[in-house]
């Protein structure tokens, strides 16, 4: 699998994503500078976490207008899988590739810790290695991670099975206590209509190495490697 990681000014999980991708695929991804309008032929495009443009104005808003994003949108529209992690998710919503917005956490504070997620589907390129309903552990690290969409949009997302992951407790129950940021419906990640674009706030690349305390995240990259080779 050939992946490209887009680097915006202020991206800071680009290397982390690259390390996890290389570990899963055996191949280093291409690192693509935001100013470039060309992206090499890729089986997967990753928008990494960080603080693109300082997250000033609104998280992800300025990066969504970066020259490279026109090309990302075009590729996504023709079916190339695009994975947005944390700031990448925020950019995807701002760019209109995913519905809704990521608002300030209900606590108003940055939060960095592990959370539990329920895998809602395992029939996408991202999740084939997980079981449906499986509870996995990923870290989160964000201040603007509260997923918001209006009722109609939420109904559509739920109806079309486009919720990828939900914050849950150890037994997989979706509870208020398990919601770290006030996201509606405990949404941690969503897909586009075709399941090819995934945006999620938690960081799979941060628990993809036993030395870091877990490997639940590695399975996402391994799923991609197996499905997209």
């Amino acid at each position: 699998m050939k992946a490209s990681v887009i680097v915006f000014p202020g991206s800071n999980c680009d290397r982390d994503a690259a390390v996890a991708l290389e570990a899963a695929t055996g191949q280093a991804p291409a690192m693509v500078w935001h100013g470039d309008s060309e992206i090499p032929a890729s089986d997967l495009i990753v928008l990494p976490g960080g603080f693109s443009y300082g997250d000033y104005l609104r998280s992800g808003a300025m990066a969504a207008h970066s020259p490279v994003m026109r090309e990302v949108v075009a590729r996504a529209r023709t079916g190339t899988p695009v994975l947005g992690i944390c700031n990448g998710f925020q950019i995807l919503t701002e760019a209109g590739l995913l519905p809704g917005v990521l608002m300030r956490n209900a606590t108003l504070k940055f939060v960095c810790r592990d959370v539990l997620l329920r895998v809602e589907r395992n029939d996408t390129a991202y999740t084939s290695r997980y079981a449906r309903g499986e509870v996995i552990r990923f870290p989160i690290a964000h201040k603007d991670g509260s997923y918001f969409a209006d009722d109609a949009t939420l109904d559509r997302l739920e109806g079309e099975g486009r919720v990828a992951f939900r914050y849950c407790n150890a037994t997989g129950e979706v509870t208020q206590a398990a919601n770290p940021n006030g996201s509606r419906h405990n949404i941690a990640g969503i897909y586009n209509e075709t399941g090819t674009v995934l945006g999620l706030m938690p960081h799979p690349e941060r628990l993809a190495d036993p030395a870091l305390g877990g490997t639940d995240g590695a399975n996402m990259f391994l799923s991609l490697a197996e499905t997209l080779h």
């Binding site: 202020g10 982390d16 603080f51 000033y56 940055f110 690290a141 870091l212």
Partner: protein, 741 residues
């Protein structure tokens, strides 16, 4: 007084009043005139005032700092550069330093703390290192002081927002609450970076006619007089002065970091220096002075963000996120390309010269023309009078009232402001970015993996101010020893330290005595533990209306774990494992947390540190960790033995069954005494014999404490204390306090 008023007065000549406002004594002004050979211009006065300020010149501390050991086979660069450098083997080096941003953080906690973090990171990447971990050592006033909550909230979010945006994990620190910090909080930030040992960048300008290049953000009227402010005692009026606060821009700093590292990969830079306190002045003076060259600046070329800035303002501005470099001639274009790519200002603002002078031109006028030697070396150095802090009597355990219940006391201790969990703080710091944090906050030391290797860097920040207040010498020794112990407890070889010496007004002999005592204590411990000082910072005048902070020599240490597979953590892992104490028990309760929390006062001498015993115990523990003999390790510090055990139980989620305290010492002295050089370790029962033997061989006392198991802390003769209760006490205090108090 505003700048325009200054300028107007200058036209009438420099009055004694103006001199005083610049923080220079009448005698210092005389020295200045002698060094310059004439009366200064206002701009020159400003330049002298910042260079001769306590902050830049170390005039009160210099003679004492010379006593600190700074050498060792691991040291690549000791004090004197932007940060210290130690060897990590394999051609790699760690670059690290700690710095204070106390006064700015009290005035504007968010921006003060944020710019403190930004400043220390610049010190590290200036040397060619990529920052890989941040730490923060915080001292706040009493929890019930009306300002404390606001200050905690602002400082923590300022530190978090800056480090988080930079993508550098903030992996640990320490936090104290004490009424003596009510009006003088301390915000000490530490940064550790990773560099190629053979590619360390320094500040010494070399060569004549080389371009002096300004990069980064534009210059505004930020923090003018910041450096002099940081060196002047607070009074009630200074809260009203509200100096121009520096605002941090972590996004620009992130760009600056990437641009600098990108240019450093090429062969373009002769010397580089960040613009920190005293901005353009100190960066240009230091580079020129270190390299023995002169420097000419053309201020019309300085990128400014405000109209009509004067030479005085430009030379003294403390706008953040700026760097000064001396480039190799011919590399200007390549350098400019890099900085433009990252959307940063780039301007050639001068040249090195062979005159040995700092010449500053603005709008065709020579605003300053000063022999560099007078700025850097003619600054006064004071041997201030000092009086030794009276040592206090050692308190016998019998003199300290016992609690009704040991476990009840434990519950109160771990739920007190002093020992409660700092999770509320570190949760707001991204401590995992860079995906190398192999030991997260909450343990004895944080550990970050050296990227791409199996090596780990352990980092810890330590000092116990109440010990230092009672006995600066023993307290400073203890701070170094505890740092060394915390690094050892995760299995690291301690390498070296940085420090942040926070004290009151050095013009008072008793404060100077605290400083002297602390330096000597540090020196003794650093020498005995082969743990040299490679960088540091002195922050004096931390006092308000004559009330000084307790002496606070914060120690930031790093250590190397050759193979992170052998790293130890404090979490109890296996029911059935045995728990042991390594180190001698003397039941020392003087200045203990037990006294402070249970009796609400502190007295007596702090626990003495036997450095020989410290070394023996540490070397033993490290060897046991490396040989895979231990399943958990934690040092004993604040709160004593029982607190250490409780922290291990909480971290692992396993209870313990403890044997009764051995006589004849009172039980509370055993459980809460803060004797030094001790570790609690856990091991499989079948390893106990070998551990006994190793301890005997190393002459380290060992006592069996009990067994791991259950979900409570059990102590003979007392009802068990459920872990859930301990956890609630430990975790609740800080979030509850921050929510409403």
């Amino acid at each position: 007084m505003n700048i325009a008023a200054h300028a107007a007065r200058a036209a009438e000549g420099i009055t004694p009043e103006i001199v005083a406002e610049h923080g220079l004594s009448a005698n210092e002004y005389k020295l200045l005139v002698a060094a310059l050979g004439r009366e200064p211009s206002l701009t020159e006065l400003g330049i002298f005032s910042v260079m001769w300020s306590e902050h830049c010149s170390y005039k009160s501390s210099k003679i004492w700092l010379k006593k600190l050991p700074t050498e060792g086979p691991q040291v690549i660069q000791g004090p004197g550069e932007n940060a210290g450098v130690v060897d990590l083997g394999d051609g790699q080096a760690a670059v690290f330093k700690m710095e204070s941003h106390n006064h700015p953080s009290y005035i504007e906690p968010y921006q003060g703390a944020a710019t403190g973090v930004g400043g220390i990171m610049r010190d590290v990447f200036t040397m060619g290192a990529r920052p890989i971990a941040n730490m923060n050592a915080l001292r706040f006033g009493a929890p019930d002081h009306p300002k404390t909550r606001h200050l905690v909230a602002g400082v923590v979010s300022g530190i978090g927002d800056y480090g988080n945006c930079m993508g550098v994990p903030t992996v640990g620190g320490e936090t104290n609450f004490d009424p003596r910090y009510n009006d003088n909080i301390l915000v000490n930030a530490m940064c550790v970076g990773l560099a190629d040992a053979g590619r360390i960048f320094k500040a010494a300008a070399k060569g004549i006619g080389h371009p002096v290049v300004y990069v980064g953000s534009k210059t505004g009227r930020d923090g003018i007089h910041g450096a002099t402010m940081a060196s002047a005692e607070f009074d009630d009026a200074s809260e009203e002065k509200r100096p121009t606060v520096q605002v941090g821009d972590p996004f620009t700093e992130k760009l600056l970091l990437e641009a600098c590292l990108e240019l450093m990969a090429e062969d373009a830079i002769v010397a580089i220096q960040d613009m920190g306190a005293a901005g353009l002045t100190s960066s240009s003076v230091e580079m020129a002075d270190k390299g023995g060259v002169g420097i000419e600046l053309e201020l019309d070329r300085v990128p400014t963000r405000e109209e009509g800035m004067t030479a005085y303002e430009m030379m003294l501005s403390e706008s953040q996120e700026r760097m000064l470099m001396i480039l190799k001639p011919g590399s200007e274009k390549a350098a400019e390309r890099v900085f433009r790519k990252w959307d940063l200002d780039f301007s050639i603002i001068g040249y090195t010269t062979d005159t040995g002078r700092l010449v500053v031109r603005h709008r065709g006028i020579v605003e300053a023309d000063i022999p560099l030697a007078s700025l850097a070396h003619a600054a006064p150095v004071y041997e201030r009078p000092w009086t030794k802090t009276e040592p206090q009597a050692t308190v016998a355990a019998e003199e300290v009232p016992a609690p009704n219940s040991q476990l009840g006391a434990l519950e109160r201790l771990v739920g007190s402001p002093h020992l409660s969990s700092r999770r509320w703080i570190w949760k707001q710091y991204d401590h995992m970015v860079m995906a190398d944090t192999v030991q997260r906050p909450g343990g004895d030391a944080a550990v970050v993996r050296v990227h791409g290797t199996g090596k780990g860097l352990a980092i810890s920040c330590d000092v116990t101010p109440r010990y230092c207040a009672a006995d600066p010498f023993e307290g400073a020794k203890q701070a170094v020893a505890e740092c060394w112990r915390n690094l050892t407890a995760v299995g690291a070889d301690p390498l070296a330290i940085t420090d942040c010496m926070n004290f009151g007004n050095p013009e008072r002999p008793e404060i100077m005595g605290e400083f002297a005592g602390a330096v000597e204590g540090m020196a003794a411990a650093c020498t005995a533990l082969s743990f040299p000082v490679v960088s540091g910072n002195v922050s004096l005048y931390n006092e308000t209306n004559g009330i000084a902070i307790p002496p606070t020599p914060a120690i930031g240490g790093i250590g190397l774990i050759p193979d992170i597979a052998t790293m130890a953590t404090l979490a109890l892992k296996r029911p059935g494992d045995v728990l042991m104490l390594l180190g001698a028990e003397a039941g020392h309760l003087g200045q203990s947390l037990y006294m402070q929390v249970m009796l609400n006062r502190s007295w007596g001498a702090p626990p003495p540190v036997d450095l020989e015993a410290e070394r023996r115990a540490g070397d033993l523990v490290r060897a046991l960790i490396r040989s895979g003999s231990l399943s958990a390790v934690h040092d004993v510090s604040d709160g004593g033995l029982l607190a250490a055990i409780a922290e291990m139980a909480l971290a692992g989620g396993h209870g313990v069954v403890l044997d009764a305290a051995p006589g004849p010492m009172p039980a509370h002295a055993i459980w809460f005494g803060e004797d030094q050089a001790r570790y609690v370790v856990a091991a499989r029962p079948d390893k106990a014999d070998a551990i006994h033997k190793a301890a005997a061989g190393a002459k380290v006392p060992l006592r069996l404490l009990g067994t791991i198991g259950g979900d409570a802390i059990r102590l003979d003769g007392e009802p068990p204390l459920p872990l859930a209760v301990v956890r609630a006490a430990h975790e609740d205090w800080l979030p509850r306090f921050m929510a409403h108090g």
